[in-house]
């Protein structure tokens, strides 16, 4: 999976936000807020973690106390939230 073109993430004082720029704004118009771990997952996809397995591994590496089951649940929630910004 990868992030569709035109979506950008930005860290502001009020938190992480994802917005569309350019042509992507025609199809999706809105602002997504991400928490720290959501931003981490977003960044991981951008950095090349292109499968569920890689993303879960990235989460387990980063968050020591995280177990496999919670990681999968968190990932599903994240992917649901950003579905329109991610393509296969």
């Amino acid at each position: 999976m990868k992030i569709k073109e035109g979506f950008i993430i930005k860290k502001l004082g009020i938190g992480y936000i994802v917005v569309t720029v350019g042509d992507a704004s025609k199809n999706f118009n809105g602002v997504i807020r991400l928490n720290e771990s959501g931003a981490f997952l977003w960044q991981s996809i951008q950095d090349g973690a292109d499968s569920r397995e890689k993303l879960i591994q990235a989460m387990l590496d980063r968050y020591e106390d995280l177990d496999q089951e919670t990681a999968e649940k968190d990932l599903d929630e994240f992917l649901g939230r950003v579905a329109f910004a991610v393509e296969e």
Binding site: G30, V31, R33
Partner: protein
Amino acid sequence: MFRIEIAGLVIRIENRYGYVHDLCREYIIEDFSDSSAAFSADDYGQKDTTQAAGTILTADTAECNLRLADISISVSEKEIRQEREKAPDSIFSDAYAEGVVTYEKISNALPAFDAFVMHASVVAVDGQAYAFAAKSGTGKSTHTRYWQEVLGERVAVINGDKPVCRFRGDQLIAYGTPWCGKENWQTRTSAPLKALCLLERGEENSIFPVQASEHLGELMQHFHLQGGQVDLLKMMELIDRMAQTVPMYRLRCRNDSSAAEVAADYFGI
């Protein structure tokens, strides 16, 4: 066609109907629609800047008279039709729809000038502005009325519904605009925003500081972020800057004027 000044910006409006012209009356700095107007668009270059001598001008207005326009607005028949289709059963006229679309276009153009429309009621007391934001129907108009009851003539409502806010230096200033909601509360004035209060109904009155980052979802509802025409990244940067500039509070209110007393007392008014 006429030019208005809002928030130190010159806005040129090419109108089809008289409604938007009449709505903006107090804000007009140059009027080409009136046959008695001294100047037409063509001889703008020779415009005598002493024209307005005798009227009281703010520094912003005086400066704006020298510029043609920061923002130019015209609304097409198609846009008027589209606006009316959003509420097919409403009694609004084409003329009214033109007014609505005009302000939407102004809203979309403002971020480029470090300015934005905020959905809130803003009052000025002793030269400081206080904003009350709430979901429609939660009572920001009612709360504004309580401030007027408690503080009387010390209160000027800058705008009861949709003021323009603009960063000037390190301050965020709230400005009156002609578009102001059904109570028709607006004053052609401005004041630096001292507080943004997120209103909520409660059993008891209380007010306490909150962090914008913890109420971002609620906060974002008070800005114009839809429609596909607004620069979302710029808007979010402005909201972020506002969060750093203007302290934010949760204001829980009972449904009587004691809420205004508690808030005014908290702000040392």
